[in-house]
């Protein structure tokens, strides 16, 4: 990063819809639920919003081509500068980065960021839309499905560091349990490692309960420039740093045991936030957990655990809500649900509440002052990172 941004940007409101397997509501209506709630909690009206960023993943999920435009009115973007932020699964956190650039640059003072996904329209399963992420000529003829790439990555991660599947199943246990306290949660549950490993093997080493669900839902936040944030909010939560990076699209050429793209994104965000010792200076993390192993993988990429050692940290309780570094206190994608782009925004909502000490039954102890949210996507190659804090 060449230059520090000149203007400070804060999150001043957050909102959610329920996360559901199937919603009656259209994607527009879900977006409205979350967006209007974010405005209400920020104490601003739609007419005060100067620009809107919409995050929503592949068009083929909702089955609406150019769905960013279609969602416009539900996101509050009518007659305003409106942008769609889209980097696949990384879109949720990327949308906050996009909103941040709009405010930090001085272009706008109040920006609404909305994430939405309605995957239930896609039949028989949204994986049908995902198949085309594989190379049409040298991969698709082999008949791949999306689970392949994750199970291959998880196996490489396990074999590189001697990690057992029991260690990974513990992520599902922790996150589904954390989600019991989340009002939007779709798949909260009290399970044991045994339960997770007793669920069907979909693609070894991945079991069904190590995969996040198909979800409909929306989430939103309001971003404000410093002078506006101080006027409107008693407890603004500052976006201290952002970062993103993409690794090669030749996914078979990547180090499948270590997400270097997350590390690059994290280093950019930490540099901006002035963090030199992330393990000491970050008090809470919402890493992206669409698959159980991914939380561990990402914690290592975020430099919050040693390579191959995140499972040990998990097993000794370091990542519990009352642990040294609570991770996914929301319940994450494994527990709250995975409406793709909305899930990333949900993670930022969680940091917002946690850092304000308003997370109620989910509140982590010790007055956390700084947290990191991260998402991952495109062809499994992007890391998107945002550091939020109270100062």
């Amino acid at each position: 990063m060449k230059r520090k941004p000149r203007r400070k940007v804060a999150v001043i409101g957050a909102g959610l819809s329920l996360f559901m397997r199937r919603a009656l509501e259209t994607g527009k209506e879900l977006s409205y639920y979350a967006a209007s709630q974010a405005l209400e909690t920020a104490g601003v009206r739609l007419k005060d919003i100067q620009a809107v960023v919409m995050a929503t993943a592949p068009d083929a999920f909702d089955g609406v081509h150019m769905k960013g435009d279609w969602l416009l009115d539900g996101a509050g973007g009518v007659r305003k500068p409106y942008t769609r932020a889209y980097v696949g699964g990384g879109s949720g956190v990327f949308s906050i980065i996009s909103g941040w650039t709009l405010v930090a640059s001085g272009l706008f003072d109040l920006v609404l960021v909305v994430g939405e996904e309605k995957m239930s329209s896609c039949q028989p399963h949204p994986q049908g839309a995902f198949l085309t992420i594989f190379d049409h000529t040298i991969e698709r003829p082999l008949g791949p499905n999306l689970l392949w790439i994750f199970s291959l990555e998880q196996h490489r991660y396990m074999s590189s560091y001697g990690i057992r599947n029991e260690d990974i199943a513990l992520v599902s246990v922790k996150n589904k349990r954390n989600a019991l306290n989340h009002p939007a949660a779709q798949v909260a549950a009290n399970l044991s490692v045994k339960d997770v490993l007793a669920s069907d093997v979909v693609a070894w080493p991945v079991h069904r309960l190590m995969v996040s669900p198909v979800s409909d839902g929306a989430a939103a936040i309001v971003l404000a420039a410093e002078h506006v944030a101080r006027r409107l909010s008693e407890k603004p939560v500052w976006v201290q740093g952002v970062g993103w990076s993409l690794d090669t699209s030749y996914w078979g050429n990547r180090d499948l045991a270590y997400p270097r793209y997350v590390e690059r994104a994290a280093r950019m965000a930490y540099g901006m936030a002035g963090i030199s010792e992330p393990r000491k200076e970050i008090h809470i993390a919402e890493p992206y957990d669409p698959f159980a192993y991914k939380e561990l993988h990402h914690l290592e990429g975020l430099l919050l655990a040693d390579r191959g050692k995140a499972p040990d940290d998990l097993a000794r309780g370091r990542f519990d809500r009352t642990g040294e570094l609570p991770t996914c206190p929301s319940g994450g994608l494994m527990g709250v649900g995975n409406p793709i782009a909305a899930a990333g925004v949900m993670k930022v909502c969680e940091l917002f509440w946690q850092l304000r000490g308003e997370a109620g039954a989910r509140q982590i102890p010790g007055n956390p002052e700084r947290g990191v949210a991260q998402a991952w996507g495109d062809l499994m190659q992007i890391g998107t990172v945002a550091v939020l804090g109270v100062h």
């Binding site: 199937r22 919603a23 009656l24 509501e25 259209t26 527009k28 209506e29 409205y32 967006a35 209007s36 405005l39 009206r45 739609l46 007419k47 083929a60 089955g63 009115d73 539900g74 509050g76 009518v78 007659r79 329209s121 896609c122 039949q123 028989p124 049908g128 839309a129 198949l131 085309t132 049409h136 000529t137 698709r140 003829p141």
Partner: protein, 179 residues
């Protein structure tokens, strides 16, 4: 200047100036189907249409807008409109129309179809629909039209319950709607 179209499957091209190679094409499809819900507002709209044969709209008092098809919220001010339902008689005026002579594949239609955007009286909205029981040369912009619905037992609560709009039988004076 005319150029011959390249036939990608037979033309061989130089690669790095060294070899010639036959470009290939891989054929495939995206196996997706969709089942859309009508949404919270859409559900009420279609169930009302199915059961009572009328439209239902939502209204924003602040912006003085009546949404048809109905919306749960006002897109201008974000007011929640879920308690603002009002029944609307499905009559309106032809806002614009076109005469379609070809099908979606570009083949000729046996008889031209009349497609119009009809603004619904008393609302700020309307819908794309077919015009029925009228010859193309008789259609006029702003003419009054009324709905032709499928018979009650055949209605499924979808857009297909609306067969089209036909010239209004009683030409009552109706207020112009605001844009």
């Amino acid at each position: 200047m005319r150029r011959q179209r390249d036939n990608a499957t037979t033309r061989s091209i130089a690669v790095g100036g060294l070899a010639r190679v036959e470009p290939r094409v891989w054929r495939g499809a995206m196996p997706v189907q969709f089942l859309y819900t009508a949404g919270a507002a859409g559900e009420r709209f279609f169930q009302t249409l199915k059961r009572k044969g009328i439209f239902t709209a939502t209204h924003c008092e602040e912006c003085r807008l009546t949404y048809l098809p109905p919306r749960l919220y006002c897109e201008r001010c974000f007011a929640d409109l879920s308690d603002t339902w009002r029944d609307v008689t499905p009559v309106g005026r032809v806002y614009t129309f076109t005469i379609v002579h070809v099908d979606r594949e570009g083949g000729p239609l046996s008889s031209p179809e009349l497609v119009a955007f009809v603004r619904i009286d008393g609302t700020d909205g309307g819908l794309v629909t077919r015009l029925l029981e009228i010859a193309p040369e008789d259609v006029r912009i702003d003419m009054s039209v009324e709905i032709t619905l499928a018979p009650p037992r055949k209605r499924r609560g979808t857009l297909e319950d609306i067969l089209g709009f036909r010239p209004a039988r009683s030409v009552a004076k109706r207020p112009f709607t605001r844009r």
